[in-house]
């Protein structure tokens, strides 16, 4: 029983990170109808911003840690907006395949210029937050896990408020539903798209730091696997569906952790894809996705 709870906690804290990344995939898909494959690399950039930002603040403090987190999120938001502006906007109106291939190009560019500038060797991520563990009943909780879950929950609640309670958030949903009608009410779709990239990239940046806190070895290719799983999580939840991405992320994290602790632990990385195949067979639109007939 305690083993079960322990794994659940570990799974949820891993899943919360997948969820943060998955939200970016799903939001960008919502407004532009394409998968931004470079999104996973913003996760990596977030971790490196945390690595270097960590040198500027006293280590192992809550304030310092949160400061670095905010810095990394801001940095990733700017980078995400710049990438959209330079790489994707010129392709507005081009076939989706062209944009997808460009996204893969941007992803490779980030990964290999990362290797060029930072080196391919892994680096040890600093202790940004106070380290410690304590027992909660039968379960051992690390402060880093608390940070992960706390920050992820706050960010997701914040996102929910932005998307549902603010003017720009409502505009984001409007653009996702019908970009032409959005223009006809005076929405500048480019501004909304930039905002969406900024928001999604900031979440990926936060995800990068949270991930590195628990798996403190970072390198320029570190985004690939978590990014892929987060993508699976987004599809699992129903691509374009924001609560779906959060749910998908948590599910993948929990399932992966249980499998990792079982006799089949060698298949832990494959399990996300097995879950995906299963869900798509049973519910092609994803868990929360609706099969919609687009009216023209």
């Amino acid at each position: 029983m305690s083993e079960f709870l322990q794994q659940l906690l570990n799974g949820l804290s891993l899943g919360a990170i997948y969820a943060l990344i998955a939200l970016g995939y799903t939001m960008v898909y919502g407004v532009l109808r394409f998968i931004n494959f470079a999104h996973a690399d913003l996760f990596m950039v977030g971790a490196f911003l945390g690595y270097f930002g960590g040198r500027l603040v006293p280590s192992g403090t809550l304030v310092g840690g949160l400061g670095v987190l905010a810095l990394a999120m801001a940095g990733c938001a700017v980078l995400g907006i710049v990438i959209e502006r330079l790489a994707y906007r010129p392709l507005r109106g081009a076939p989706t395949l062209n944009v997808l291939i460009t996204a893969i190009g941007v992803s490779l560019l980030l990964e290999y210029s990362g290797q060029l500038v930072l080196g391919a060797a892994p680096r040890t991520f600093p202790d940004l937050f106070p380290a410690g563990r304590f027992n909660l009943g039968p379960v051992v909780v690390s402060t880093n896990q608390l940070v992960v879950i706390g920050v992820a929950v706050l960010l997701m609640v914040g996102l929910e408020l932005i998307v549902h309670r603010t003017r720009i958030g409502t505009a984001m949903r409007a653009v996702a539903l019908n970009p032409r009608a959005a223009q006809l009410v005076g929405i500048n779709n480019d501004v909304v798209i930039s905002f969406t990239f900024g928001l999604g990239s900031a979440l990926a940046g936060a995800g990068g730091i949270l991930y590195a806190l628990n798996y403190p070895s970072i390198d320029p290719l570190m985004g690939v696997m978590p990014g892929l799983k987060a993508f699976v999580a987004a599809v699992l939840g129903g691509i374009g569906n924001i609560p779906g991405a959060a749910l998908g992320g948590l599910l993948i994290g929990v399932v992966e952790t249980y499998v990792g602790g079982s006799a089949w632990s060698t298949y832990k990385d494959a399990i996300a894809f097995a879950v995906l195949i299963l869900v798509l067979l049973l519910r092609p639109a994803g868990l929360l996705g609706r099969v919609t007939v687009e009216k023209v």
């Binding site: 949903r173 409007a174 032409r180 223009q183 006809l184 005076g186 500048n188």
Partner: protein
């Protein structure tokens, strides 16, 4: 005579190799209701899209003395040109209230937004009853009311309506057309009405243009066109 509110001259639009408009010209004076009628594929929707910046067009179009063509759609809306698109295009997963709020996207004057909302409810009381309902679950007629209400929230001086009668129960069509006339009379909004239902359109408008394969083939005061034998044969059901 004062210069027209909208003056369109030699408007041309192509979708790739398909030419949809080959030189459409017309003008509309402030305060008028003008209708654009024509059969399937005549280019009515394309004309409206060109004017609101959704498709690229050549030729000239002046609104209130300043050029429209080449401007992004959101700027055109800001200049007071409203467009109720074909197929209504309400934001299906947003509530009625959110749809109306999006209509007022550019309006930072909260009092005016509240006033406009009340005016929309006065025109279409059903919308007030359904504020929390998602727009996609409204009936076709209600969606049309919402689409018109949403456009009115943007303070248009000039409103283009694309087939507001399409796919709507006859009873609701009457309501909607009465309110379109009211919008023109009471709020002084100039209207360009696109319709396939030529009888109805000629009844409420003062002048009409007939479009056929991307050209204006006939124009004149609506009462005259209603009596025109050529038009009768083609569009008015004998």
């Amino acid at each position: 005579m004062s210069p027209p509110l909208l003056h369109v001259s030699d408007l041309q639009v192509s979708y790739g190799a398909i030419r949809a408009l080959s030189g459409v010209s017309f003008s509309i004076a402030a305060g008028e209701i003008v209708t654009l009628i024509g059969g399937n594929g005549a280019g009515k929707t394309t004309t409206l899209r060109a004017l609101s910046g959704l498709v690229r067009a050549s030729g000239t179009a002046e609104f209130d003395g300043q050029t429209l063509l080449g401007q992004p759609a959101h700027r055109i809306v800001a200049r007071g040109l409203g467009h109720v698109p074909e197929g209504r295009m309400v934001f299906a997963n947003l509530t009625v209230a959110e749809n109306l709020a999006m209509g007022a996207y550019l309006d930072r004057d909260r009092d005016r937004v509240t006033r406009n909302r009340e005016e929309v409810f006065a025109l279409f009381p059903r919308l007030r009853e359904r504020l929390r309902q998602t727009a996609g679950t409204l009936s076709g007629g209600e969606q049309q009311m919402l689409a018109i209400g949403r456009a009115l929230m943007g303070n248009p001086r000039f409103l283009m309506l694309d087939e507001p009668s399409l796919g709507i129960a006859p009873r609701l069509i009457t309501t909607i057309f009465e309110q379109i006339v009211a919008i023109n009379r009471q709020r002084g909004i100039t209207i360009l009405l696109v319709e396939q239902n030529a009888n109805l359109a000629l009844e409420v408008s003062s002048r009409a243009y007939v479009l056929e394969t991307g050209r204006v083939v006939m124009s004149g005061p609506s009462p005259e066109l209603r009596a025109d034998p050529r038009l009768k044969a083609t569009y008015l059901g004998g």
